[in-house]
């Protein structure tokens, strides 16, 4: 099947505006602005069952329909703060198929009545942002952005805003705080951004990959989109495949593809032909999936991965083979979360610190049962006690790693 999102794989220069135009580019945006009511656009996206690709999997059209029409102005913000260890899909999209993402953003802005949209992009994507600014300028020049678009009364400006190295700003309310010029600390929710977002105004925040789906949904219709993937998860997903794999990279596949196909057919199998020991399907925030044949034959969609005691998240699939000890993996994830905790909630700030120190000592060879028990205990105490998901994410690999790989912690295998 030809790619839907990574279309540059078939159309190499689709990052140039004339090539994008020649391949149907901006047709959907023009169609929406000229011939559709904003609510109709939202209805099509709702009907398509598109779910947010940033990790939470929230229905996109439903999010747009929550926008508060009693409060103005409205904003649209693209979350391009891609920072989950193991995630590198948005980067490829922005680099190689930028206009499809930008068009999706523009359609979304029209649907929710936003005249200003921001792309919050991680500071490390410095060079990429310079290119993106050029692409936005090209769209302005050709009349796809600016005042009174396509002869209508609708106007839209898109601006980029560089982050500066903070994973927490991928959390949408922390992102909005950061965009407001503050430290990126998550807000208490509710209220959610569609009623209280940027500058306290109704705001839709969506991931880059989510937006990239939108032009084709408007162009080809909700039924076309639903015909791809599974009933639970419509469409395709870009899987960022990394770790002990022969051919790491981004693979765009329909939901419902099995782990076996992803790892062996697309990823070329494991380095040196070793067996897969564990899969982290949602990057460092994942639960550790203990791999057997049943797991490998599981179709990947949100519901099926949940049945394996894990979450799909942003589909950043880190593959771990039998040369790797899980206590080391946990230590690596905790180095990350200890560094990235914003410090707002005490359980996360203190918990990630102590977990990191405990796991360091455990990994250094001090695998005393009481230390492992304490680590497990701290993780359990953190759960459900933090304002945002980071505190929760930090405990996932710890709890499931100890439960599912006790031998790696010198614990007796629990039946």
């Amino acid at each position: 099947m030809a790619h839907i999102l990574l279309r540059h794989r078939e159309i190499p220069r689709i990052n140039e505006i004339d090539i994008y135009e020649k391949n149907g580019g901006f047709k959907a945006f023009k169609q929406a602005v000229k011939n559709m009511e904003p609510t109709e656009v939202t209805a099509v996206v709702k009907d398509s069952s598109l779910r947010g690709r940033g990790g939470a999997g929230f229905p996109t059209g439903m999010k747009w329909s929550f926008i508060d029409n009693n409060s103005w102005p409205h904003y649209v913000v693209a979350n391009a703060d891609e920072s989950e260890p193991g995630a590198f899909k948005d980067r490829e999209l922005i680099e190689s198929n930028p206009f499809q993402f930008l068009e999706g953003m523009a359609i979304s802005s029209y649907a929710v009545g936003a005249n200003i949209a921001y792309i919050y992009i991680r500071g490390e994507f410095w060079e990429l942002t310079a290119t993106l600014d050029e692409k936005i300028a090209e769209m302005e020049k050709l009349g796809y952005l600016g005042n009174k678009l396509f002869g209508s009364d609708y106007s839209l400006k898109i601006y980029t805003h560089l982050g500066a190295g903070a994973y927490i700003c991928g959390e949408e309310t922390a992102l909005l705080e950061s965009l407001e010029g503050k430290r990126g600390l998550p807000r208490v929710r509710p209220p959610f951004p569609p009623s209280f977002g940027l500058y306290g105004k109704p705001t839709v925040v969506n991931n880059v990959e989510t937006f990239a789906n939108v032009p084709l949904i408007i162009d080809k219709g909700a039924d076309w989109f639903k015909s791809i993937g599974t009933p639970d998860s419509a469409g395709v997903k870009i899987f960022s495949l990394s770790g002990r794999i022969r051919k790491p990279g981004n693979y765009e596949l329909p939901f419902g593809t099995t782990f076996r196909e992803l790892i062996y057919e697309h990823g070329g199998g494991i380095i040196e032909g070793r067996p897969v020991k564990a899969i982290m399907a949602a990057g460092a925030s994942s639960s550790m999936i203990l791999v057997d044949d049943k797991v490998l034959d599981t179709p990947i969609d949100y519901a099926s991965v949940r049945k394996l005691g894990a979450d799909l998240g942003s589909a950043s699939v880190i593959v771990i083979d039998d040369t790797v000890s899980i206590d080391w993996v946990i230590n690596k994830t905790l180095n990350f979360f200890e560094h990235e905790s914003c410090g707002k909630c005490t359980p996360c700030r203190e918990g990630t610190y102590w977990m990191q120190h405990l796991s360091q000592s455990i990994h250094a060879g001090n695998k005393r049962k009481q230390d492992v028990d304490l680590l497990y205990n701290v993780a359990k105490q953190m759960q459900n006690k933090c304002l945002c998901a980071l505190g929760e994410f930090a405990t996932m690999a710890v709890v499931t790693g100890i439960e599912r790989f006790p031998q790696d912690f010198n614990l007796e295998v629990r039946e």
């Binding site: 891609e82 920072s83 989950e84 260890p85 193991g86 995630a87 590198f88 948005d90 980067r91 991680r122 500071g123 490390e124 994507f125 410095w126 060079e127 601006y159 805003h161 560089l162 982050g163 500066a164 190295g165 903070a166 994973y167 950061s178 965009l179 407001e180 010029g181 503050k182 430290r183 990126g184 500058y199 960022s240 495949l241 990394s242 770790g243 002990r244 790491p248 990279g249 981004n250 460092a284 950043s316 880190i318 771990i320 790797v324 993996v329 690596k332 994830t333 180095n335 990350f336 560094h339 990235e340 914003c342």
Partner: protein
């Protein structure tokens, strides 16, 4: 002074946000300030605070919160090596150790000539192109992927030569 040196750009940055929300410009302005010496000096901190009607303490808290802002001078080029989980599964720690040995520094230290500081960073979204790092310098941020120690040492020489030419 940033407003004197880059008047057009400052205006353009402020223009991206609603006039009553100019505080949003703090992040782009801090990046601008780092163009001079690779860190935000006292004068810039003062200027940004007064430009945006916020306190210097607030500006300092933002510098402290985000890892790409720096409050003090280090090497001209910060080599920020990713050794997060996906990179580490593909040999990043070994690369980092080898690079440190070759340069005679430890992580966090700067070479004697003040040119290179070695730092580790969290995931840079390049997990399929390991070993990799970014350089951060007054010129901005640049990615280097699928690297080796030899290629990195060559890069350092090239950067040094370019630096001499500019001087």
């Amino acid at each position: 002074m940033l407003a004197e040196k880059y008047p057009e750009e400052v205006k353009q940055i402020l223009g991206r946000y609603p006039p009553e929300q100019k505080r949003s410009a703090v992040m782009p302005l801090l990046f601008m300030a780092q163009r001079e010496e690779g860190f935000v000096n006292k004068e810039a901190k003062h200027e940004i605070a007064s430009m945006l009607d916020i306190s210097e303490t607030e500006v300092a808290s933002i510098i402290g919160f985000y890892t790409l802002y720096h409050a003090k001078k280090e090497g001209k080029y910060r080599f920020q090596v990713c050794n997060d989980l996906p990179c580490a599964l593909r040999g990043a720690d070994k690369f980092l150790e080898g690079l440190c040995d070759k340069l005679g520094v430890q992580v966090g230290e700067t070479t004697n000539d003040g040119f290179v500081t070695i730092e580790t960073v969290m995931c840079l979204a390049a997990c399929d192109k390991v070993p990799m790092f970014q350089t951060q310098s007054p010129n901005g941020i640049k990615y280097y992927e699928n690297m080796t120690i030899d290629k990195t040492m060559e890069l350092i020489e090239v950067l040094k030569m370019a630096d001499k030419e500019v001087k």
